[in-house]
């Protein structure tokens, strides 16, 4: 994982969201939350700001 801080923040975000809303995401929405916060959101943000897409993690 090349960006543990982002991953950590997403996990904290999930926990805070669950604690405040008392809505615990299920097995379908849980992984989608991580896809959204760690992939879709940053990619869209970079595109809107005219930045180059984030480099793929080395294979």
């Amino acid at each position: 994982m090349n960006d543990p801080v982002r991953y950590g923040l997403a996990v904290i975000g999930y926990v805070v969201l669950a604690m405040f809303t008392k809505q615990f995401l299920t097995w379908t929405y849980g992984p989608l939350y991580f896809m959204f916060t760690l992939e879709v959101l940053p990619r869209t943000w970079r595109r809107l700001r005219g930045l180059r897409p984030q480099a793929a993690e080395s294979r």
């Binding site: 996990v11 669950a18 760690l38 992939e39 993690e57 294979r59």
Partner: protein
């Protein structure tokens, strides 16, 4: 039932199957017993545990034979050995994990409807979803999750590396990963994230439910065998010990014989005409599925 261990176990299994089974199939196999049943369980509040794990009910989904049937059907239809093995391993891992709660599972259904349980933590489905989770994370259930979380991080952390994903996980199930990539317009990072997502989800779930049990329900933490003591659990393994032993013993023997006959007259033929991805090299015995 287990709340996050099922997610962690998938990655531990991945380390041991390598390219010999599909990771996606393992994940689906591990979800299969609860996939079509869990949402109904809490609605059957009069006897949720019996509905979930007993017979009559949907308890047959938590049996070894259910995994064999599903894997055989998938092998017959798709000819994919990797998917058949993945589903079988995932389903069996789920079933064997659920032996640990007080309700247990009908391990040898349909040959025995006797539940087997080591009663390590409370199955409290009759308390509803939130009550069940609070009970789980107030006893050894949460500790079990944390144990598997540590097992993965200590012994199987290499499975999270990007190079492992691209050189082992994707080639082992290239068709499905390629299909998902095209269909969902995934980037390289998106593919990798989709693979890691269930671990992140399991970790978040474990922390969130534990905090919920501690600070929002104010339940005391009792990580003792069979705990927490203050919650009435659901027990399905009841009766004299010799009746239980006899029923499970006979069921186990009948299951073993049936499995052998199925292999001898059906599964072996299906296996022989099955196909493997190019990267797979199978050995004999356990090395068919593990490396």
């Amino acid at each position: 039932m287990s709340w996050a261990a099922h997610e962690f176990e998938d990655y531990f299994i991945q380390k041991h199957i390598g390219t010999k089974a599909s990771f996606i199939a393992v994940v689906i196999g591990a979800f299969l017993p609860d996939l079509i049943t869990k949402s109904f369980v809490y609605e059957h509040s009069t006897d949720a545990a019996h509905f979930h794990r007993g017979w009559p009910g949907v308890g047959f989904t938590h049996s070894l034979m259910f995994g064999v049937v599903i894997a055989t059907v998938v092998l017959a239809i798709t000819k994919s050995r990797s998917w058949a093995l993945g589903l079988l391993i995932g389903e069996w891992a789920h079933v064997l994990t659920d032996v640990s709660d007080t309700a247990g599972v009908m391990l040898f259904f349909p040959f025995s409807t006797q539940n087997l349980s080591i009663q390590m933590w409370k199955h409290a489905a009759s308390q509803g979803r939130l009550g069940d989770a609070a009970a789980y994370y107030s006893g050894l259930g949460g500790v079990w999750d944390f144990f598997w979380f540590c097992m993965v991080l200590v012994f199987a952390r290499k499975v999270f590396r990007a190079d492992y994903f691209w050189s082992v996980v994707v080639p082992a199930d290239f068709k499905v990963w390629s299909w998902a990539r095209r269909r969902l317009h995934l980037t390289d990072n998106g593919m990798l994230l989709a693979y890691r997502a269930y671990f992140l989800y399991g970790m978040s779930r474990m922390v969130a439910w534990f905090l919920y049990a501690r600070f929002q329900t104010d339940k005391p933490w009792q990580p003792v065998w069979g705990g927490p003591k203050y919650i009435k659990g659901n027990y399905l393994m009841t009766g004299d010990w010799w009746r239980i032993t006899l029923s499970l013993g006979l069921g186990g023997v009948a299951f073993a014989i049936t499995l052998y006959l199925l292999w001898r007259f059906l599964i072996r033929r299906l296996w022989a005409r099955g196909v493997d991805p190019e990267i797979v090299e199978r050995g004999s015995g356990l090395r068919v599925a593990f490396h």
